[in-house]
Symmetry: C2
Subunit: 186 residues, 2 copies
Amino acid sequence: MRRQFQKESLPVERVRRYLEPGPVVLLSSTWNGRHNIMTMGWHTVMEFSPSLVGCLISAGNHSFEMVRRSRECVINVPTTALTDELVGIGNTTGAEIDKFDHFELTAEKGQKVKAPLIRECCANFECRLADDSLVGRYNFFIWEVVSAQAALSPKYPQTLHYTGDGVFMVSGKIISRRRRFLPGML
Amino acid sequence: MRRQFQKESLPVERVRRYLEPGPVVLLSSTWNGRHNIMTMGWHTVMEFSPSLVGCLISAGNHSFEMVRRSRECVINVPTTALTDELVGIGNTTGAEIDKFDHFELTAEKGQKVKAPLIRECCANFECRLADDSLVGRYNFFIWEVVSAQAALSPKYPQTLHYTGDGVFMVSGKIISRRRRFLPGML
């Protein structure tokens, strides 16, 4: 079931909370008056402050030139409520369809970038391109998250984690080992 | 409960199966006759063939100079059977203790690199440094997996996914959407 999330702004250094567990994300962009969305699983947090995220966008994706030229994107975190949309978005191309229209997703205006946020996702991270030095060789983009918002609840959203072959792992139970951490390691 | 896994060699282009869902991993290395292990959560698959994995190793880690100089490592995937070891390894330093001894882990000889595999992990990926051009600026290492092995069962091991603040998500149920994928996207 789809739902509207009530969100609050999040300090950008806290995006690791959502991205480090490895969810499949939806990357939205805009260029020349057209929006697009792609499904992405190859990404990693790289730094807290500035808040850096590195990701792989294959040159064959319609989004590749859009983000390379606009130097902006939004990383949106979907929950299992969007499983079929996420698979559909990954198996179609923005060269042929408008993905917001086709998948009935809502484009929202961002705070800092022109790329649209996806309202139906539980977290939205607005990004500016920080370093394109590995784009030519590896299609690897390093983004700075410049504005972030995330749902107030659930505290740990049910996310999808891809394992290849059309199979996903759904995020499971939450366990704390906080007492075993040194204060400086938290 | 700890267990010994029966493993088989894995084609290196299939490491995405284990790494893309975002598990915390244990990175093992050797330099100057000494082994070490670190806990790592910031990594991403970057290419199938050659099999590339990018990861962040902070310069403050004892492992940083070891892997920078030896230009080798092993990425080991632990299951929840090693939760306390994983937390312990992340909260101690190889400058003070021998982590294999202290955490009673078994160093195994690799096929292609001198860095030791951790026998108690369900998958072991031997890596050679493929690109260090972002090490100086971001502590970002790009590895080529040159040999891989993984447990025959369970098919989907129970892995740990870090969310910060001493809290982990444990991998949950497996769902397939294979029928909704285009053949070329699998």
